[in-house]
């Protein structure tokens, strides 16, 4: 582990929250993509019948 010195808390906080936000936006996008795809497949199935 690198010697973060006196600002260890700040640097790790910055990295922690940033990665959290990145993971959040990716997770949100993937979830929305899946839900919409499912809804579309259902709608198309209904429409083709």
């Amino acid at each position: 582990m690198p010697d973060l010195g006196t600002y260890a808390v700040e640097v790790s906080l910055a990295y922690g929250v940033s990665l959290l936000l990145l993971v959040a936006i990716v997770a949100l996008s993937v979830a929305q993509a899946r839900r919409t795809k499912r809804l579309l497949d259902e709608a198309e199935a209904r429409w083709k019948k």
């Binding site: 579309l40 497949d41 198309e44 429409w47 083709k48």
Partner: protein
């Protein structure tokens, strides 16, 4: 042959992204009227708004409507705190058409002239709303269900006003279900219902 004031060639209109009418073509020559018929939702209002230029047509051509149209929708466009005269004078001034006496006379509004519009009954407000058409001096009238909340006497008044407008060489396209006592050819919009109402680009399936 009377001069054709309004011509529409295979017009396509949409509402909320869905095509409602397609292939609409007709001509209205000066001095004649056209009544639009069809069940609710068949696109009467959509067609009138497209003719009035409030809504762009999806396809097709409209001739004769630039600066020549007066459109009366369901709302009367009146300001409650202004008097009858003030309302009419405002609209007259905006359309560059001076006298409002003829409009007041045509709809028997003379005795209500000084009253604020908010104190009028629904029927009187509707008469004032229609009186606005006279004040615009525009040849083409587009009227959407004009006789709503009008009693028989007022409907007769309205019929006379339209007849006088036609005699003066004007044109009227009216969406209505009741007979106005004027000879007008009828256009049934259900014949122009969009066969497969496409939603445009998002229509083909691509899964």
């Amino acid at each position: 042959m009377m001069e054709v004031l309004l011509r529409v060639a295979d017009l396509v209109c949409a509402r909320g992204g869905l095509t409602v009418l397609e292939g609409v073509s007709f001509e209205v020559s000066s001095g004649s009227a056209l009544v639009l018929r069809g069940p609710n939702g068949s696109g009467k209002t959509t067609l009138l708004r497209t003719l009035a230029g409030l809504q762009p047509a999806v396809a097709g051509k409209i001739f004769g409507t630039d600066d020549a149209v007066a459109y009366a929708g369901h709302a009367d466009g009146l300001k409650g705190t202004l008097s009858v005269v003030e309302n009419l004078t405002f609209w007259g001034g905006l359309f560059g058409f001076g006298d409002i006496a003829e409009a007041l006379e045509a709809f028997h509004l003379n005795d209500l002239a000084a009253r604020p519009a908010q104190s009028l009954s629904a029927g009187q407000k509707r008469r004032l709303g229609l009186a606005r058409m006279l004040v615009t001096g525009r040849p083409i009238w587009l009227l959407d269900e004009p006789t709503v909340s009008l009693d028989a006497a007022s409907v007769e008044l309205f019929g006379q006003a339209v007849r006088r407008h036609l005699e003066g060489g004007g044109v009227a396209v009216i969406a209505t279900h009741i007979d106005l006592g004027i000879d007008a050819d009828v256009l049934d919009l259900s014949t122009f219902r969009a066969s497969t109402p496409q939603g445009g680009v998002f229509d083909e399936a691509f899964e």
